[in-house]
Each structure stands twice: as structure tokens, then as C-alpha cells.
């Protein structure tokens, strides 16, 4: 092999090496480019899931609250009915007491 041939082989190897590095840089740039859209995609997906779960949580609380409120109102209505029934049985005695207060000592 002549000296010229040897130089040619080395020049070719250098060109090939430069190509390898160039390709690697293009691949790296591509990897970097993709990550931004990947992150954005992940963000959109995770936040959408979180918002959906949040809405479900609030709706569930609303339903629970309504059920508890209805139950409270029913129990309260029963308590009020009982209270009024007890009070009604004391009406006559109370009227007597009030009349007595007005007439007290002057009848």
C-alpha cells in the first residue's frame, strides 16, 4: 500500500467518524425536542384526571350533604312535632298561669 492510499484510508475514517458524531447530535436534538411535547402531554393527562377526580369528589360530597340534610330535616320535623304536642298539652295550664300573673293580687 502506498502512502497516498494510507492517507486516503485515514481521511475516510475521519469522515466516517464525523458522520457518526453528526448523527448522534441529530439524535440528541431529536430526543430533546420530543421531551417537551411528552411532558406537555403528561401534564394535560394528569391534570385532566385530577380535575375529573376533584369534580367527582365535590359531587359526592354534595350528594352526601343533601342526604344528611334530608335526614336531619326529617328528624327535626319529628322532634318539632313532639315538642309542639307536648306544648299543646300544657296550653290550658299556661293560660291559667298567665291570667294569674295579670290578675295577681288584684282579684
Amino acid at each position: 500500500m502506498s502512502g497516498m492510499e494510507t492517507v486516503q484510508i485515514i481521511v475516510n475514517a475521519e469522515k466516517q467518524a464525523a458522520k457518526i458524531i453528526q448523527d448522534a447530535e441529530a439524535t440528541a436534538a431529536n430526543i430533546r425536542r420530543k421531551i417537551d411535547s411528552l411532558i406537555q402531554e403528561q401534564r394535560t393527562e394528569m391534570l385532566a384526571t385530577a380535575k375529573k377526580e376533584a369534580a367527582a369528589l365535590v359531587q359526592q360530597a354534595e350528594e352526601e350533604g343533601r342526604r344528611e340534610a334530608e335526614s336531619y330535616e326529617k328528624e327535626s320535623a319529628v322532634r318539632t312535632r313532639e315538642l309542639i304536642a307536648r306544648a299543646s298539652s300544657k296550653k290550658s295550664a299556661t293560660v291559667e298561669k298567665l291570667v294569674g300573673m295579670v290578675m295577681q293580687g288584684e282579684k
Binding site: M1, T6, I9, A13, Q16, A17, A18, I20, I21, D23, A24, T27, A28, A29, I31, R32, K34, I35, L38, I39, Q42, R43, M46, L47, A50, K51, E53, A54, A55, L57, V58, Q60, A61, E62, E64, G65, R66, E68, A69, E70, Y72, E73, S76, A77, T80, L83, A87, S88, K90, K91, T94, V95, K97, L98, V99, M101, V102, M103, E106, K107
Partner: protein, 206 residues
């Protein structure tokens, strides 16, 4: 010579391959870091959304129950108010009806007059009655009973103008400047707040 050239080119290519590996590895590591950081940040954001939702949910539930309590309390108060009003109206009617039963009313009226005279402390007084009492009350007997009750002679004058009341009396100095209102209506109205408290205690144990 030939094998040396080969080795040299192989070294060049090996170095290039290694560098290429480093370039790609670095990009991959960099994106992995960015991805991890982004995941942490997004998770925090998502957790924040959930935390706010939990607080909202708690508030929504509390509001529903609080509104129900308020509504029930209002209903209870309204029902109690109906009973209280009924009792108070009935009591007032009973007090005003006392005037219809002369056997009860005359001694009561005498006491009302006596008490008013004691409060005024004068020895000459003007007594006002309603129209019905002006007609039906025997004034001589009432004067006699009052003097007896007070155990001292009092000069009583009778107003010719009837008062607007269901019963009872207004006793005044002759010039009308000082007066004690002892009508049934007025006595009831004056005591109304106390009567309400008493009725509340008696009916609802308040």
C-alpha cells in the same frame, strides 16, 4: 504498516462512537431529569387540585347541613310562635272576659281602683270607667268598698267621659295631670314581655 493503519482508523471510529454514545447518553439523561422534574411538578399541581377539591367538598357538605339546620330551626320557631300566640291570645281573652263576670269583676275593679289611689296618694281623685261600667257599676257601693279597703275617706269624682277599654279604670288627679292607668288592656300589654317569657318556660321549658 497495513495493520497499523487499520488500528489507527479503528481508533478514530471507536473514539467517534464513544463520543456519539456520550452525546446521546447526555441528551437522554437530561431529558430523564426534565421528565422527573416535570412529573414532580405536575403531581404537586394535581395534589393541589385534589386538596382544593377536598376543601370544597367539605364546605359543600357543611353548607347543605347548615342550611338544613337553619331551615329546621326556622320551622321550629314558627311552630312555637303559633302556640305562644295562641296561648297569649287566649290568656288576653280570659283577662278581658273577667269584665263580663260581675261577681269576679267588681272585687277586681275595686282592687284596681284602690291600688291606683294608693299609688297617686291624693285624697281627691277622678275615676274614669268605660261606657258599660259607667252604666252598670253602683258607684256608691264602689266608693264605700274603696274607702273600706283604704281605711280612710277619699273624695271620689267620676269622669263623665268614658274610656276606651275592655274594663278596669284610669284614676287621675282632678286636673288630670297625674294618672294611673289600670285598665285590663293596659295591664295585659304592660306585662306582655313577661308573659311571653313565662309562656316560653311553661310550654317549652325555656
Amino acid at each position: 504498516m497495513m495493520s497499523e493503519t487499520s488500528k489507527f482508523t479503528e481508533d478514530i471510529l471507536n473514539a467517534a462512537t464513544e463520543k456519539a454514545g456520550n452525546i446521546i447518553g447526555e441528551a437522554e439523561a437530561e431529558t430523564q431529569r426534565a421528565s422527573d422534574e416535570a412529573k414532580t411538578s405536575i403531581s404537586r399541581e394535581a395534589e393541589n387540585i385534589m386538596r382544593n377539591a377536598r376543601a370544597d367538598a367539605e364546605a359543600v357538605k357543611r353548607r347543605e347541613i347548615s342550611e338544613a339546620r337553619h331551615k329546621s330551626k326556622l320551622h321550629e320557631e314558627k311552630e312555637k310562635d303559633i302556640v305562644m300566640t295562641e296561648v297569649l291570645d287566649h290568656a288576653k281573652k280570659r283577662v278581658l272576659d273577667v269584665a263580663k263576670d260581675e261577681s269576679k269583676y267588681l272585687p277586681y275593679l275595686t282592687t284596681l281602683v284602690e291600688n291606683a289611689i294608693r299609688q297617686l296618694g291624693d285624697e281627691t281623685l277622678l275615676i274614669h270607667l268605660n261606657k258599660a261600667d259607667m252604666t252598670r257599676i253602683n258607684r256608691t257601693n264602689l266608693e264605700r268598698d274603696v274607702n273600706k279597703g283604704l281605711q280612710k275617706p277619699i273624695k271620689i269624682e267620676w269622669s263623665k267621659e268614658p274610656i276606651e277599654a275592655a274594663g278596669g279604670t284610669i284614676v287621675s288627679s282632678p286636673d288630670g295631670k297625674t294618672r294611673i292607668v289600670n285598665t285590663l288592656d293596659e295591664r295585659f300589654d304592660a306585662l306582655e314581655s313577661k308573659l311571653l317569657v313565662e309562656a316560653g318556660k311553661s310550654l317549652f321549658g325555656q
